[in-house]
């Protein structure tokens, strides 16, 4: 059982979720409340990683982060290590790749916040940033949880990008998805099965807890 890979995946997913929980609300807030026409285009660009196969993203990243690119070279010279095939490289890829999974649910949630509450906030002298933080975000709790779950999950499950820019290095870039893939190819169905099971049970636990906690504000069906 490849515990290293499990740990690595959790670390990667955790870091990605953390970063996106900071970045996505700002972005989503700006997108939701800006009245400029071209925000639609920005919205589409943000959503792009969604539609792009991970291999496309992986390809562009490989080109951008690889030692043949200026960015990759600069990074390699500064840190002494290349970006591609490192944890940092994976993290960058994951953040980009999961961005829409964080932004989309937030956008949907922001859109259903009662407009009058936003108005009440502005009329009490609060600008959009303050309103976002104090009214819109707290009232979008379900959206925030969905964003976090989707981001975390999507990163855990990420395979294509990692295969392309990760390089399958144990402890550094061999995530659990890759590890299971390898086990299956090595006909080691037992290990594949066991790793899958561990992941399954763990995920189930995390999800049950998340949903149970999140259930509080859920509008149950009127006493029926």
């Amino acid at each position: 059982m490849d515990w290293d890979a499990v740990e690595l995946s959790l670390r990667l997913a955790g870091a990605t979720t953390l970063i996106l929980l900071l970045v996505a609300p700002m972005l989503a807030g700006w997108l939701a409340f800006s009245r400029r026409r071209w925000t639609v285009v920005v919205e589409a660009v943000v959503a792009l990683p969604l539609v792009l196969p991970p291999t496309v993203l992986g390809f562009y990243l490989l080109v951008a982060l690889g030692t043949q690119s200026p960015v990759g070279q600069w990074w390699a010279e500064t840190t002494g290590r290349p970006l591609a095939f490192t944890f940092t490289g994976l993290l960058i890829a994951s953040v980009l790749h999961s961005l829409p999974f964080a932004v989309q649910p937030l956008l949907a949630a922001f859109a259903s916040v009662d407009r009058r509450l936003v108005e009440a906030s502005t009329v009490l002298g609060r600008g959009w940033w303050s309103t976002l933080l104090r009214v819109v975000l707290p009232l979008s709790r379900h959206g925030v949880v969905t964003a976090a779950v989707l981001t975390f999950a999507h990163t855990i499950g990420e395979f294509g990008v990692v295969l392309m820019v990760g390089g399958n290095i144990p402890g550094e870039t061999r995530t659990v998805a890759i590890s299971i893939y390898d086990s299956v190819q090595a006909f080691d169905y037992a290990t594949a099965g066991r790793t899958s099971l561990v992941l399954l049970v763990f995920s189930l636990l995390v999800l049950v807890v998340t949903y149970a906690l999140n259930r509080g504000g859920r509008p149950a069906w009127p006493q029926g």
């Binding site: 043949q68 095939f85 390089g167 190819q185 006909f187």
Partner: protein
Amino acid sequence: GADATAEPATQIHIAAASDLQFALDEVIRVAEQDRADDLSVSVTYGSSGTFVQQIANGAPVDLYLSADQDYAEQLIEDGHADEDSLFRYAVGRMVVWAPEDSPADPDQGLAGLTAESVDTVALANPEHAPYGAAAVAALEDAGVYEDVSDKLVRGENIAQAAEFVRSGNADVGVLALSLARAPEMRDEGSYAEVPLESFPRLNQAGVVLAEAPAEAEELASYLQSSDGQAILADYGFYPPEWDGD
């Protein structure tokens, strides 16, 4: 094993063609036993072409073991390894393999793949896996490529192709002999060898990459030593100098 105060073990990372999946594991196990010092070897198996592409983009690989000499040479051309670090370690052999209950009869060789009862034929992706390219060449040589092209299922590398067949999802596969001889497949089906001369010879070669630690070189030597070669022979590899009997 070393005690806690010892220097951290040297890390060697090997990228190896997936036909080595089982053979190389054994080689390394034995090699590690023979050594006094601590050596930590990690291996990634995959298609030979993929590795070249990754190494070209900076993947931290110390020893690259290809299923085909051309890929190894490409790394030297691109300046990722010294010319004299290139070495041959085996000649790859190919088989038609089918599981026990398959409708296909491997004994008929490639020609048998045209049978109507055969729905799917697994092979490695010819675009970046040498065994895939070799399989296509052999099929063409046997004059059946046109007939079977609709049945082809491509694994990302030769190990995945093998996995397709072994799991029963594909009826038959054109695989590496080394995989067919692996304990995991030996008792699951039967195979017939594809004549060595019906496809461009699979000269399996490796390179030690520039800036690799000395231990990588040692491992490469071990692979070419008689001990190493014996293990490879067990898995059906011909020695690199093999000249047709």
